[in-house]
């Protein structure tokens, strides 16, 4: 009949397929990430090299780029249903939430040997740890530092007094020129100041302490910069900061590696560590760092192989590619000894800054902090309330939300 030739053809094809792949049971490791442009290219290069090296083992890594704005939702929807990847790369801020929800991230304590643990900057490892268990390998960190326009600021200020002095000279508020510009009303950016004073969001427990006396002091210093010294622009959205810097109207900016991709071509800039705070006894400003981790998913069918890939991806050779070609700042320590990396002014500037950085909390309770903290920041900078009163109100709101979540 007519069907026969087709049928036999299919049979032959099936047979051929079964013959072609006898020894090699292909193991596919799917990796989701939120990278684009050079970061993506660098990752794909590392993956290609890995695939080549492991072709004999029948392991093949494939990658999928997912837009950052959809990433967390996609993980939350797909992974617990067994539809997600084997490995994904994401910052630590959602880690606690995923762990509490369960079925999403695989603990890797068991796999983790001392040599692997020791190859990372210790604080980045801290960011991967939740309730005493390690859940991922740190790939890179992102941290804010001082970025300045070399034409306007020949020598970067080292202390807050110097900073204010330089900034005051360069500020002409009416003309829209500012010595210093950063998203100070964004709690994430403000944290550098707060941590510099020894402030914090959580005490162990975790118990929120938004209104800790150190936090209030940091807020008061910010108000001095904004009000008395008048060196900062109003309503500082990140978009505005970029525009000001690109127009040469902001001399110094506090921002992170992402900012460098937004700087216009004509601007001659350099990086320096955030200044020390004379008001806090010369202690450095300590920005929060976000650490992108490589996580093995709980539903992966090849956890061993997935962990092996994560290990390779965070090892020095891969870190070198990610640093030099992907323009990432790796969490791997050894890569900064590489001559090409060491002489890169940007990478070494971030490396220097991260020494004093503090991992942003990875607790699920952290998401409850943003909104009240933002409200507090806005009321303070608009002078609708004193720092103490606004932070007290924020603390109250966070306490109520935490209690609302924990009650049984």
């Amino acid at each position: 009949m007519k069907l026969t030739p087709r049928l036999s053809l299919a049979a032959v094809a099936a047979l051929a397929a079964s013959l072609a792949a006898p020894a090699l049971a292909q193991k596919e490791i799917v990796v989701w990430h939120a990278y684009r442009a050079e970061e993506k290219a660098a990752l794909e290069k590392v993956v290609a090299a890995y695939n080549q090296a492991n072709a004999a083992k029948g392991i093949k890594v494939t990658t999928l780029a997912v837009p950052y704005d959809a990433f967390a939702d996609k993980i939350t929807a797909a992974v617990p249903r067994g539809k997600g990847p084997d490995v994904f790369i994401y910052a630590q801020d959602r880690l606690g939430g995923w762990i509490e929800a369960g079925n999403t991230v695989e603990p890797i304590d068991f796999f983790l040997d001392k040599a692997t643990k020791d190859r990372f900057i210790p604080t980045t490892m801290e960011a991967m740890t939740y309730r005493g268990t390690v859940w991922g390998l740190p790939l890179d960190y992102k941290v804010i530092t001082m970025i300045y326009n070399k034409k306007l600021v020949p020598v970067p200020p080292k202390t807050s007094k110097e900073l204010v002095a330089v900034a005051r000279k360069l500020t002409d508020k009416k003309a829209g020129r500012f010595g210093l510009a950063y998203s100070y009303s964004d709690y994430y950016y403000h944290a550098a100041l707060q941590n510099g004073f020894g402030g914090r969001v959580f005490d162990p427990g975790p118990k929120p302490v938004l209104n800790a006396p150190e936090n209030v002091k940091a807020m008061e210093l910010l108000m001095r910069w904004l009000d008395t010294d008048g060196i900062l622009p109003a309503e500082p959205s990140t978009a505005l900061i970029t525009s000001l810097f690109n127009d040469g109207r902001a001399a110094i900016v506090f921002s992170g590696p992402w900012f460098l991709g937004e700087i216009a071509k004509g601007i001659d800039y350099a990086l320096a560590p955030l200044p020390t705070l004379d008001e806090a006894g010369g202690k450095p400003m300590r920005p929060w760092m976000t650490v992108e981790g490589v996580f093995v998913t709980a539903q992966s069918k090849n956890k061993d192989a997935a962990y092996d890939f994560a290990k390779v991806l965070t090892d020095t050779p891969a870190a070198r590619v990610m640093a030099l070609e992907g323009r990432q700042t790796p969490a791997n320590k050894a890569v900064y000894d590489d001559p090409a990396v060491a002489k890169d002014p940007i990478l070494s500037a971030f490396r220097k800054q991260v020494e004093v950085a503090i991992p942003m909390p990875n607790l699920p309770e952290m998401t409850m902090v943003w909104s009240p903290a933002t409200t507090a920041m806005n009321t303070i900078v608009k002078k609708s309330a004193t720092p103490k009163a606004a932070l007290d109100a924020a603390e109250k709101a966070v306490l109520r939300d935490v209690a609302g979540l924990r009650k049984r």
């Binding site: 837009p67 910052a91 002409d172």
Partner: protein, 294 residues
């Protein structure tokens, strides 16, 4: 008859004034999008004013005009990523959404407009009600249904189904309202001539309802064209992404490359404008007037 229209018309000059004003308001923010896209930079353009700005300075500052004009943002958007593929995916999804959505809505709306049957009111209300439940918590149940139960993960069919069901309620109500205005006498005459219900529907009612079909088609298309989160969640292959998903790579998280995003947004709006240009003639063709009474 048409010649009479002129004598009692409103003078055109004030109408033009109104329209020019409205157009300016409508276009002004869009011009800023163009300014950003053409600037070659990634930051938003902001007013550049001297210390003591004159009125003239301020006027200059509010005119959206890039300091330098370059197409680099556009070329980067198109070449860095498989943007053409994503546009094509979007086109396939949006066009099929339109076809499925409008077709199903037409039949349903026709039944609601012309038949009297138990459950008619409830049926219409249920279409309305379907728009009322806030979508914030719906992503995961939708994911479970689409990907786990219907096994439509990473497929265009899944997206089309979701978008079509999103668009249908408005389409049904709009078309039903329009069908109601088409006089029944026409159909009754056709019944006497021995036409079947489907002939009546396809040959008489639908052509008369072209303006409403055009509106619903545009709406359905937009529903499928601009959706981001479901497409990004359901699709597991980069080659299957739609244009809005691709656009979002430029912004999100810390990175805010608005120059690329603006350029991409302009490219993404072009097909919508083109579709509107195509549909315009149906939107403004007062078909009913002649055929009904004639």
């Amino acid at each position: 008859m048409r010649s009479r229209a002129g004598e009692d018309e409103f003078p055109h000059l004030p109408l033009h004034l109104v329209l020019v004003l409205a157009t300016l308001v409508a276009v002004y923010p869009v011009l800023w999008v163009f300014t950003i896209a053409l600037s070659g930079q990634q930051s938003l353009a902001i007013a550049d004013l001297p210390s003591d700005p004159t009125v003239w300075d301020r006027l200059r500052a509010i005119v959206p005009w890039p300091k330098t004009v370059t197409l680099s943002n556009f070329t980067s958007v198109v070449t860095d990523q498989p943007f053409a593929q994503w546009m094509l995916n979007s086109a396939i999804v949006a066009i099929l959404t339109t076809i499925v959505g409008v077709f199903l809505a037409c039949t349903a709306a026709y039944a609601f407009a012309r038949f009297r049957f138990p459950g008619r009111q409830a049926g219409m209300m249920s279409f309305l009600v379907s728009q009322m439940f806030p979508g914030t918590l719906m992503l995961i149940p939708l994911y479970i249904i689409l990907v786990k139960w219907l096994n439509l993960g990473s497929s265009r069919i899944g997206l089309i189904l979701v978008y079509a069901t999103t668009a249908i309620p408005f389409c049904v109500w709009m078309l039903k309202g329009y069908f109601d205005t088409i006089p029944k006498e026409l159909e009754e005459a056709a019944v006497i001539d021995g036409a079947t219900p489907s002939t009546i529907f396809w040959r008489i009612v639908l052509p008369l309802a072209k303006p409403a079909v055009a509106v619903t088609a545009l709406f359905s298309f937009m529903t499928g064209w601009n959706e981001f989160i479901i497409a990004a969640t359901v699709m597991d292959k980069e080659t299957m992404y739609t244009a809005p998903v691709g656009l979002r790579f430029f912004v999100g998280g810390f990175s805010q490359q608005w120059g690329y995003f603006a350029a991409g947004a302009i490219i993404v709006s072009i097909p919508v404008v083109a579709l509107f240009l195509f549909l315009q003639k149906y939107l403004v063709s007062g078909l009913t007037a002649g055929s009904v009474k004639g």
